[in-house]
């Protein structure tokens, strides 16, 4: 009996990641970071820009997401997102570009509070990767 559960990350184009041997996942849920272990109660939540940390026997992996929905049920964690990147694969100039865009976004005059919050969040996360 392990302490493992199944993680599946899908984006609209394909199944991005599927792992059977995950021990812990930390997700940037909308109301704060949340760690999920085996036998968590069923939960649905959605994500804000941040880092998903996946712990498994093979080590730790980090992914950058901008939005998404998570569902946990019967030791199956599904993450649905349209924007996910493995931090290992992001190039420095890509981060800079995204940072620049987020800054443009947050400095617009007509942003509403939620959008502003989200793009501020994005900037913070991107800076932390950098």
């Amino acid at each position: 009996m392990g302490e493992e559960f199944k993680l599946e990350v899908v984006n609209p184009e394909k199944s991005f990641l599927s792992k059977e041997d995950v021990t812990e996942v930390v997700i940037p849920a909308f109301e704060g970071e949340m760690g999920i272990l085996k036998d968590h109660i069923p939960i649905i939540s959605f994500l804000k820009p941040g880092i998903i940390q996946v712990y498994s026997k093979t080590g730790e992996e980090k992914y950058y997401v901008e939005d998404g929905i998570i569902e946990f049920k019967n030791n199956n964690l599904s993450i649905l997102t349209s924007s996910i990147l493995n931090i290992k694969d992001i190039e420095k100039n890509q981060i800079d570009e995204m940072l620049r865009q987020a800054e443009v976004e947050t400095n617009k005059d007509n942003v509403n509070d939620q959008d502003k919050f989200l793009s501020d969040q994005k900037i913070e996360v991107l800076k932390s990767i950098n």
Binding site: E8, E13, F30, I43, I44, L80
Partner: protein, 291 residues
């Protein structure tokens, strides 16, 4: 009767047409494989999304105040029809099947004296609809430049739809697309996306009590626009697979027809060549006899 030269020219031109249709068929077959792959890969996302929405809408406490995207505006006077077609022709009945389906829906609406608004995605549908329904078309989008169906395009479409919904420009939104069954069969579909119809005949009704964070309403408000993008993206994927399938079988038929035509023309050419030779021989022989 056509002269030998004319026949020869026709054979050559039919042969070169055959070459083109054959090439198009092969290109379509290669693209079909890709489109089918991405349609299959995209399925888990939309299925999961559907599941979550289903669970959420069951769990929602206050049905009266549910988000409008789920429950509708309470009226059904103005219909928005999103007709999704291809940007290119030469794909058999692909586009006209969608248009036919849409038109019969339109006439049903007008017999019930509902108001109709049309949005076309893909230029072929716009071309066919603007003759009759030109004044009803309020928006026309085409993604000629993007090679494959991608999610950003779908999001663009859904953004326009949601914006119009929030301005209360319509009450009910239906999308028209071709569902891919196999290479020969594509089924034109009409699917209502606003307000959302949840299928209650789901076999595994979950009895799990989910924890929601933040609460259901807030999640739903965030999720429903995403679901619309997802549905549209799914329709786009199905459509592109169907388009390639339809094109492949259409081009296959065309190639075969061209082959038959070449055979027929060749026989005719040989016959008239032989007739000409026989005629010349007879002339020479009768000429010699009269001496």
């Amino acid at each position: 009767m056509a002269s030998l030269d004319d026949l020869k020219k026709r054979i050559v031109s039919v042969k070169s047409t055959q070459k083109i249709t054959k090439a198009m068929k092969m290109v379509a077959a290669a693209k079909l494989k890709r489109a089918q792959d991405s349609a299959e890969k995209g399925r888990p996302y939309s299925e999961k999304m559907n599941n979550i929405i289903l669970n959420l809408s069951e769990g929602i406490s206050d049905k009266e105040n549910a988000p409008k995207l789920l429950s509708g505006t309470g009226k059904d006077q103005i219909h928005l029809c999103v007709v999704m077609t291809s940007d290119r022709g030469l794909c058999g009945g692909f586009n006209s099947n969608i248009i036919k389906k849409a038109k019969s829906y339109f006439s049903k609406l007008s017999s019930q004296s509902k108001e109709l608004k049309i949005m076309t995605v893909g230029s072929k549908g716009n071309d066919q609809l603007k003759r009759v329904f030109g004044n009803k078309i309020i928006e026309n989008i085409s993604f000629k430049n993007s090679k494959n169906a991608n999610f950003f395009d779908a999001e663009k479409v859904s953004k326009i739809i949601i914006e119009k919904f929030q301005k209360e420009e319509f009450d009910i939104c239906t999308i028209f697309f071709n569902q891919f069954k196999n290479v020969i069969t594509q089924i034109p579909q009409a699917q209502q996306i606003i307000p959302l119809k949840t299928q209650t005949d789901d076999k595994e009704k979950s009895e799990d009590n989910y924890e929601f964070e933040p609460d259901e309403d807030e999640i739903l408000t965030n999720l429903l626009p995403k679901n619309i993008s997802t549905q549209i993206f799914k329709a786009m994927l199905e459509n592109s697979a169907s388009e390639q399938g339809a094109r492949m079988s259409a081009m296959d038929n065309a190639t075969r027809n061209a082959g038959e035509m070449v055979d027929k023309l060749t026989i005719e050419y040989n016959r008239s060549r032989q007739a000409a030779i026989t005629k010349e021989l007879i002339e020479i022989i009768s000429g010699a006899e009269s001496l």
